[in-house]
Amino acid sequence: MKKVALVGPPNAGKTSLFNWLTGSNFKTVNYPGATVNFFRGDALEQYGFACEFIDTPGVYSLFPKSQDEEITQKILIGENSEVSPDQVIVVIDATQFERHLNIFHQVSALNIPTIVAVTMLDILKESGQSIDLNILSKELGVPVVGIDGLLGGGVQELMDSVAGRESEKSSQIEPEALQKWTQEIFTEFGLENNRLHKLSFIDCKSKRNWHHLKVTDKLDKFLLHPIFGLVFFVVVMSLLFTSIYSFSVPLMDFVDAGFSSLSQYILVAGEQSLWAQFLADGVVTGFGAFFIFVPQVAILFFGLILLEDTGYLARATTLVDRPLSLLGMNGRSFVPLLSGYACAVPAAMAARTITNKKERLLTLFVLPLMNCSARLPVYALLLTFFFTGKPMWYGGVALAAIYFLSIIVGALAALILRRFIKDSGQSLFMMELPLYRRPRIMPVLSQVLAKTKFFVRKAGPIIFALSLVIWVTSVFPNYEMTDDVQRLQSSYIAQAGHLMEPVFEPMGVDWRVGVGIISAFAAREVFVSALALVFNVTEENAIGGDGSEESVAATLLEKMKTAKLANGGLIFTPATIIGLIIFFMIALQCLATVGVIYQETNSVRFTVFQLVSFNVVAYLLAVGVQIFA
């Protein structure tokens, strides 16, 4: 099947066009041997021609400065036959005509059959201008098609051009095609583009107001203002956070209820046999432990893509560039860091747009310190215990303080580590601030779906495998025991807890909390359910007897109040609780994150250093609290 690559600068409407061409029939893929991902999808049948489209990462030229841009270059030069295009569609924003034409000239030099798709013609029209596409096509010597990104106009014509265009590309790429453009070449092509502009642009006599440009100027005065801009930024981010944590609740409950029901059904149908338990408590619960966070990740993607589509995300990145650069990072670190509050796995992948290696490594290092949502159930349990009998808002303030403290810890970590990572060339920020636009909901939703699927494929297997390991070690060797609590207390994981008790003791806890901490390496929130199990709290013996999550939590809190160490002292003292909160705030327990960070850095040294340093510091601080309290 013919492969057609869509190439163009960021914000030129490339992804919107890709969405019209493929519908939701696309997937996110990795470039072979690299971590950078892009979209691939088949053309919709309605266009009457079968081909595959490749939506390449946005570029300002074919001379890359970031990993993303490098992949676009590699795709175009046909480095890997699997994604080597037979044709290229260069997407040009009509409002940035002359600048974007440079990419067409660079692609032309590669001798790949090319078609030009001109977008944003509606916005250009506001200024009383239009483009004579026939003249432009004649001058460029390739088909030129106008695309309406909002309504899909011109897409059929584009597909007809793709079908009719020769796909015979020259196997030989001239070496000069890959030589960087000097200022002289830019000037030379600048003159050519200016000539093309004069030839193909039609100026109507009665010029109207360029609405988008005026609105953008007005909004920027406010949104990029050092004070008002910051206030707006805080409001937008607060709304995003509130959405992630509140809108996801019914969806998470739904996922939780679905997996719980399925698990129960399997146990009943399988008459509690070992296989039924494996399927119910291992496989289904393992899937459930991962899928429960998918709604939060999807809402985060939705918020970020929506903000990007409106043009605001580039402004937000600009606003925080200076504070982040003082910590050795970049404004582009903002999106990964923000994403880290939902889940560090997609957040680590989002760091690929950072061109400077040192800034990228610092961002990846600090990422796990952003409080991901898996920590929330742990904080909720510990804070509820700590503030028992106190007004509810005490816990709320403490939770906000934990989040604030995690930012401080992240900043400190960045400040310390920046001294130890070698400089890797000049840092580059330079960011285009696109015109503000009304977001296009369907392309946004399609991208959310594709990115969420990619996240599930990437992180799911690791978390699922770990959940299985935790299940096996918590059931064996005495899998025949019918009493869950007794079985757990004699399991391999409990044996590991006992064996490691000397390690946990300085934290003021015994092997039972140790089992919770070990279990949290599968997923942090497992700490709560593991604790319930080792403290003999089940749905059957929970206070109230209704077996609800609330009654299990209330019973666990009661048991925690009286839980004692072997020496007779209480386990859960204020010092232990604070120590555990600090431990969970800093410790790098999520092995899915560790795996992704290794993939992103391709450095065992960096990954091991991060894993060890975070866990050692977390442990020492928890022990320190115990000693000094």
Binding site: N102, F186, L319, G425, M430
Partner: protein, 66 residues
């Protein structure tokens, strides 16, 4: 109204100059500085219809006619 600056030459790191060229900064081209972000930078430059955020070090690579 904002002051117009005309690019005279460039001086700085090669990859910064390349990106400046990709954004349309070329000799003789005029641009305006229309704002500054939090803590004084990045600067916001307007070149034609395009707005670009530039750090001080990136902006300093552009030598303008006085």
């Amino acid at each position: 109204m904002y002051k117009n600056y005309e690019v005279e030459s460039f001086e700085g790191e090669e990859f910064i100059l390349e990106r400046l060229a990709e954004f349309g900064f070329s000799r003789g081209q005029s641009f305006q500085l229309v704002g500054r972000s939090l803590f004084g930078q990045p600067y916001i430059a307007k070149i034609g219809n395009l707005k670009v955020a530039l750090r001080a070090v990136e902006l300093e690579s552009i030598k303008v006619k006085v």
